[in-house]
């Protein structure tokens, strides 16, 4: 007993964390490569750590093995929330060759992820549209995102906007997607008059879904670059700007007009989907990860458009994020994992799987091969939206991703208060900005 007690007390003397293996700092970058690394021909088993409930990674790994028979996979899966909690420990302890990543700033700060710059150079990833990789670049130390070295890669990138129920839209006389914010407002008012629920949205529990329409409104009223700067934690960035205030006031107008369900503060994501699919709600702010699902459940009845700008002819912007995967700093088969990531973005078969199974636009060169998509489907319109966003350079990360805790601890409670009339638009932005500052500083 004395020994055990002594042992635990001895452990208690050092500062927490000092006993952990700390991967050596910038040495975790791939050593200078002269040619693109491959998986070779000798048998190799890649260790994967993926997210439960998303079939895309497994479909891709299966196809990869078919094309490279020497590569086999040892895959474990967890819920995204579990991955978020365990990421640092798993990467420090038993680094996977390929892993679904949560917000990466903390991981880079602790040198847990492989720097992919060398791979980007030899595979030519740096020739792709820059906005695709922007969100996965981090300045030294991991403090600022959006610039610096590449630490993750996407399997594809998602696109958000507004889904609408075509039958209900017909009922209120909407024949074409709105061109301006005023058009959208008019359609919402008509839906309300017709006794329909204008907007299907979730805002319950720890996930405030009103952040979707809010960020879209922000991009309608102002440029998207300052919003990205804020999300990327660029010094001096603020969410409390005049155009964002207009956007928040507009959201409050929608709330007061009764455009959201009365119980929106108790609706979770799954409930929103089942109600919208059941015909409750004309519009829904959501992402193209639902395209395949909606095409299957309500074939031909659902349309998609990008949030219209406040001024006619203005640029469009959308929340768009890569489905991020990374390589552990001390992964055994980093080169083979890198080849896989390159293959996902460039191989015709892999890109087809990316669209058909994942429902989102593949990564890779702007002129990369695209699989045929049935006309009139939601998938067709979300892919087209992706092309327009690339043209308008309007891709934004999600305001919920600015820090690890900003969504659950700041956006969500403040948006729920806004719904209940316990928060003002001014107060909301001020409160989020002050939470952001204290979280960026570290607590």
């Amino acid at each position: 007993m004395v020994v055990i007690l002594g042992g635990s007390l001895a452990a208690a003397c050092a500062a927490p964390g000092s006993g952990n293996a700390q991967p050596t700092a910038p040495a975790s970058s791939a050593s200078s490569l002269s040619a693109a690394p491959t998986c070779g021909t000798a048998p190799v088993t890649l260790k994967g750590y993926f997210e439960t409930g998303f079939p895309l990674p497994k479909a891709l790994t299966t196809e990869f093995t078919k094309q490279h028979p020497n590569v086999t996979w040892d895959i474990r899966e967890d819920q995204f929330a579990v991955i978020t909690q365990n990421a640092p420990r798993v990467l420090a302890d038993d680094p996977p060759d390929l892993m679904r990543l949560p917000q990466v700033s903390e991981l880079v700060k602790n040198n847990l992820l492989k720097n992919l710059d060398e791979y980007a150079k030899v595979y030519g990833w740096d020739q792709w549209p820059a906005s695709q990789l922007e969100q996965m670049r981090l300045a030294p130390g991991g403090a600022v995102r959006g610039e610096g070295s590449l630490y993750a890669m996407g399997l594809n990138f998602s696109m958000t906007g507004v889904f609408y129920n075509k039958k209900l839209a017909e009922q209120i006389g909407m024949t074409a997607p709105p061109e301006t914010l005023a058009d959208l407002d008019a359609a919402l008012a008509k839906a309300k008059e017709a006794g329909l629920a204008p907007i299907a949205q979730f805002n319950g529990g720890a996930t405030g879904g009103l952040a979707f329409p809010l960020q879209n409104l922000m991009a309608s009223y102002g440029p998207s670059a300052p919003i990205n700067d804020w999300i990327f934690q660029k010094p001096g960035a603020s969410i409390d700007t005049p155009s964002n205030l207009q956007a928040t006031q507009h959201l409050q107008k929608w709330i007061k007009a009764g455009y959201f369900w009365k119980d929106v503060n108790a609706v979770d994501y799954a409930t929103m989907m089942s109600r919208f699919i059941g015909g409750d709600g004309v519009f829904m702010f959501d992402g193209d990860w639902e395209s395949g699902n909606l095409d299957k459940q309500l074939a031909g009845d659902i349309g998609f458009f990008l949030m219209p700008p406040a001024q006619a002819g203005g640029k469009r912007a959308a929340m768009s994020a890569p489905l991020t995967f990374g390589i552990g700093a001390n992964a055994k088969n980093a080169d083979c994992a890198a080849e896989f990531l390159d293959w996902v973005a460039t191989d015709t078969q892999a890109r087809t799987i990316g669209v058909q199974v994942g429902g989102s636009h593949p990564m890779g060169p702007a002129d990369g091969p695209m699989p045929p998509v049935a006309a009139g489907t939601v998938t067709e319109s979300t892919l087209a939206a992706g092309a327009q966003i690339a043209q308008d350079n309007g891709a934004m990360d999600f305001i919920a991703n600015a820090t690890g805790a900003i969504y659950a601890k700041s956006w969500t409670p403040n948006l729920q208060k806004l719904v209940a009339g316990e928060q003002t638009p001014e107060g909301l932005l001020k409160s989020v900005q002050s939470d952001y500052q204290s979280q960026v500083k570290g607590g």
């Binding site: 007993m1 055990i4 452990a11 927490p16 640092p88 009365k262 119980d263 659950a408």
Partner: protein, 296 residues
Amino acid sequence: MKAAVKRRNESRWAGWLFVLPAAAFYVMFVIQPLVMTVQYSLYKWDGIGVATWTGVANYLRVFTDPDLFAAILNAVKLIVFFSAVPVVLGLAIAATIRRIAATRLALVARTVIFLPQVIPLVAAGITWSWLLSSTGLVNQLLTAIGLEKITRAWLGDFSTALPAVGVIGAWVLLGLCTLLLLAGMSKIDPALYEAARLDGAGAFREFFSITLPSLRQEIGVCVTVTVVAALASFDIVYISTQGGPGNASMVPGLEIYYLAFSERQVGLASALAVILTVLVIACALPIQWLTRDRES
């Protein structure tokens, strides 16, 4: 003489030897984590990198950050639902069941009331979030009796979220209290009741003069267990509201979990955990002292 002393010493050591396995586990899995939590609470640490010493800064933050302090207050409010309601209702139900003890109805009643205790808390939370949803059974019943005006999404409303969570807790803990009190009643000497009845006491008099005083210890156990359940609540809140809307039903247990695992503020989470532990002990000890059997 000397041999006797030696033997006594030997037997003392032998006793310790028997305790050793259990003590080792206790130290490993209770004492050590406790000591480490206290240690973590004095650092700023993200759980992986090297921590920096901050002294009592984390403790100051718990008392000055309105969100963290509000969580502690919510836990105190939950005591009404988790503790007062189940104990008072449990007493009434147990007394009623005791009076009909011989009938089959008593058996059915006992089973039905204890059932929530057998159901996993997660399942209870999910069931109740359906019952309390805007189209759930509770609102259907209210509409049916003409109270449509007060229907709402009970778990999504700022003013009702915490009480709604409390109702779920009361429902879960009522069974435990009833069963404990019923067990206590069954060991009261029936002669006491007989004597009271001969003296002309009614059911109420019997209850207050005999049942209640005899149940002092059982009530003490009920109150202790339920107060601790209220202060350390986690599962019901996590399943039904996740602390929402807008922190209206946030409790320390959930806050500690969020701080440690999604915000990676292990130091602050540990400080809140230490404060919660102290609060639980500060509530449980006086209850134990008050309800101790004075005669023994």
